[in-house]
């Protein structure tokens, strides 16, 4: 593995949820410790399964692992760090200022920015503490700060009149005011991060087009701020020898190889490693020690008996959506879980039942919408380009509102406009033009605003004004989109996830965020389920059986209604395949489909 050679002190694994950052970080840590190094493993994984992986309870303090000499762990919970910060700010005024004022303040401090800066603050301590490097040869992080955070910290404008004066009047850096660290400290943390002799950053991806694209985006963003040399680690690649004439496994194999073959050019120039898909869950030391062994055949266990999974299919779920024949349906979930596909399948189901449907997607990669063009008479399609929308919004703001600012002020405004909130707002603004149609037809969207954004906008009233302006006298009986979204008769939010630990956890976080805004998700959809697809190869069967616990967690703890969509052998594009995706082979029957009933390729 190239990424393991000549390692510097600090290692960061970055990538979106569910690609296996934490597993790779753990496996790397064990490998280095086994080689006699002193290693500190730092996890910010919200699933916080590092403790579980090593069978030790660790928390927000350095804890040695007895099972691996030389290895210690530390868990940072960014949510908890953000909560501590919120309490510090809000605590003293609770009961002093009016309740609704206090509530408004708390919401302002509940965004992604606060969490991220709070996490970076914790990193800073580790990156700049000389004692750490005396005690450890390597410090390994299972996440990395985003380009947005680093850029902010690099901007002189973000600091002017800020920490120097002790006034928190700057931008998304606000949270730092309460954390009272010195500017010098942040500067040396950023310096350490950008020095390849001290830090190596691994971009973790899966062998999927969307995942590779995301890695490419991160690479571009980091390169632009001078972090040029990352290592690409493609995790969980299915080996041809593991397909064992399973048509589904073969289809997955071909799809992954095709995705790797058409990898973005910029990524090709990086050192690249592939880690093969393992049948086992990455829990326990033997499993971790096997993860990074190339061609390391793990002895096959006994044949897996998969329990018969009884779960409603998407078509059954749509039966319950029909209601009054119109309304807004929003698919929500982290990137890469297949929101656009599910949105398209829901739209096709509704349209083929004769309802007028408008499907609108924001997935820039979605050729999917085009494959449906003109296929159903009562299905209309539209696309919103998130980058284009955000760019237009940014340009507009800078040209109009920022025209009188000096260079520093302009730079700060530009960076504020690069925050994740801005993109969400710009996209949702575009969507809100379409929402009004939901009074007479079904509008299906592959995205939804987070509860935080809604609360923020609702609190400022800005949203209300904006919508009133956009809706004009259209005669729709609602006052704010917030109210429309809260009304389960008008709006149904469907949460899309995968039957894996981190994606389920992230989906649960999205749900609690929505509940904060009094929006109750209507149903959950578990996408790309292997357990539902009845694979035949031993490796795929083992992985399918690993899903059962996660599916159970969704159905018993999180979801009021749910559907499971099996992993498709064919790319689910076009009318016929989307219909197939929504229906289990034999509805309400649990018999295994006969071998060879899939058409691979």
């Amino acid at each position: 593995m190239k990424f393991l050679e000549n390692l510097p002190n600090f290692l960061f694994f970055t990538g979106k949820g569910g690609v296996g950052k934490t597993s790779l970080a753990c496996a790397t840590a064990v490998r280095l410790a086994d080689a006699g190094k002193r290693v500190l493993l730092v996890s910010t994984d919200p699933a916080s399964n590092v403790g579980q992986v090593f069978g030790v309870a660790i928390g927000n303090k350095v804890t040695p692992f007895d099972s691996v000499p030389g290895l210690s762990g530390l868990e940072i919970d960014p949510q908890a760090a953000a909560q501590i910060y919120r309490d510090k700010i809000v605590g003293p005024v609770r009961g002093v200022l009016p309740d609704n004022v206090v509530k408004g303040i708390e919401e302002q401090l509940s965004g992604a920015c606060t969490t991220e800066i709070a996490a970076f603050d914790e990193f800073t301590a580790l990156l700049t503490d000389e004692a750490i490097l005396k005690d450890y040869d390597h410090v390994i992080f299972d996440t990395a700060p985003t380009g947005h955070t680093i850029r902010l910290l690099q901007l002189p404008g973000a600091w002017s009149g800020f920490l120097d004066e002790g006034k928190g009047d700057a931008s998304c850096l606000g949270p730092l005011a309460g954390l009272e660290k010195q500017r010098e400290k942040y500067k040396s943390a950023v310096d350490a991060l950008s020095d390849p002799n001290r830090t190596r950053l691994m971009l973790v991806t899966r062998a999927q087009a969307s995942s590779l694209k995301e890695a490419n985006r991160t690479h571009g963003e980091l390169s632009a701020i001078g972090f040029k040399r990352q290592y690409l680690v493609v995790n969980g690649v299915l080996a041809e020898t593991d397909t064992k004439e399973d048509p589904l496994a073969l289809a997955v194999y071909r799809r992954e190889q095709a995705a790797l073959a058409s990898m973005p050019d910029a990524l090709r120039t990086l050192p690249i490693d592939q880690v093969s898909l393992k049948s086992f869950n990455l829990v326990g030391l033997p499993a971790l020690r096997h993860l990074l062994v190339e061609n390391g055949a793990v002895p096959e266990g006994a044949a897996v008996t998969l329990p018969k999974l009884q779960a409603p299919d998407l078509a059954t779920l749509v039966d319950g959506l029909v209601g009054e024949g119109h309304g807004l349906i929003m698919l929500m979930g982290k990137g890469g879980v297949g929101k656009t596909t599910i949105a398209a399948a829901v739209a096709v189901e509704l349209a083929s039942r004769g309802f007028p449907v408008h499907l609108t997607t924001s997935d820039p990669a979605a050729h999917l919408a085009e494959t449906l063009e003109g296929s159903l008479e009562n299905l209309t399609l539209s696309r919103i380009e998130p980058h284009a929308e955000t760019e237009r919004y940014r340009k507009h703001v800078i040209e109009t509102k920022g025209k009188n600012l000096d260079a520093q002020g302009k730079a700060l405004l530009e960076e504020d406009l690069r925050s994740p909130c801005t993109e969400e707002i710009a996209v949702f603004q575009a969507f809100s033009r379409i929402i009004r149609e939901a009074g007479k037809k079904f509008v299906v969207m592959d995205t939804a605003p987070t509860g935080h954004t809604l609360l923020l906008l609702d609190a400022t009233g800005a949203y209300h004004r904006e919508t009133a302006r956009q809706l004009g006298p259209s005669g729709i009986h609602f006052t704010t989109p917030m109210m429309q979204l809260q009304d389960s008769k008008q709006t149904k939010v469907l949460i899309v996830t995968l039957a894996e630990n981190t994606p389920v956890l992230e989906a649960a976080n999205l749900q609690s965020d929505l509940r904060r805004a009094n929006i109750e998700p209507w149903a959950w959809i578990i996408n790309n389920s292997l357990a539902m697809a009845n694979p035949t190869s031993p490796l795929m069967r083992q992985r399918a059986s690993n899903e059962i616990a996660q599916i159970e967690a969704v159905t018993t703890e999180h979801a009021k209604r749910w559907a499971v969509v099996p992993l498709q052998a064919e790319e689910p594009i076009g009318l016929e395949r989307l219909k197939k995706l929504a229906r289990h082979p034999v509805r309400c029957d649990t018999s295994v489909p006969p071998k060879g009933s899939f058409q691979a390729g």
Binding site: V93, L97, V101, Q108, C172, G174, V397, K401, L405, D416
Partner: protein, 120 residues
């Protein structure tokens, strides 16, 4: 020397870009504050989301919040007395309070049609 204190609503960004629509008033005001400082004026800003204690500790601000709510911010105090609420001051007003002279070209902007929000 006159002390101007600005009590901002809860903002996650000083530029106010986190809203659906960027508020020109906030962007302009941020620039005006910089200008006043460069002229030697004494002006302080307090963000409700970051320094709520500053709001709670000042009896004028605290009772204003209790009576009118956070939606009536910003509140501007000059030497501790309420000078303006519900909108941000213009550069000319800041200059008047702080006894700083405006360049002659800017005095013309005083008043006129643009004293409210977004009317131009």
């Amino acid at each position: 020397m006159t002390k101007i204190q600005v009590y901002d609503p809860a903002l996650c960004c000083s530029t106010g870009v986190c809203g659906v629509e960027v508020d020109q008033e906030k962007v302009t005001f941020a620039a005006d504050v910089d200008w006043l400082k460069s002229q030697g004026g004494q002006i302080e800003r307090f963000n409700l989301a970051q320094q709520p204690m500053a709001f709670a500790e000042n009896p004028v601000v605290k009772s204003f919040l209790g009576r009118s709510g956070a939606e009536s911010l910003p509140l501007i105090l000059v030497d501790g007395e309420m000078a303006l609420a519900g909108r941000y001051p213009h550069r000319s007003e800041l200059a008047k309070w702080a006894n700083v002279s405006l360049p002659s070209s800017e005095t013309k902007q005083t008043g006129g049609c643009c004293s409210g929000k977004r009317c131009c």
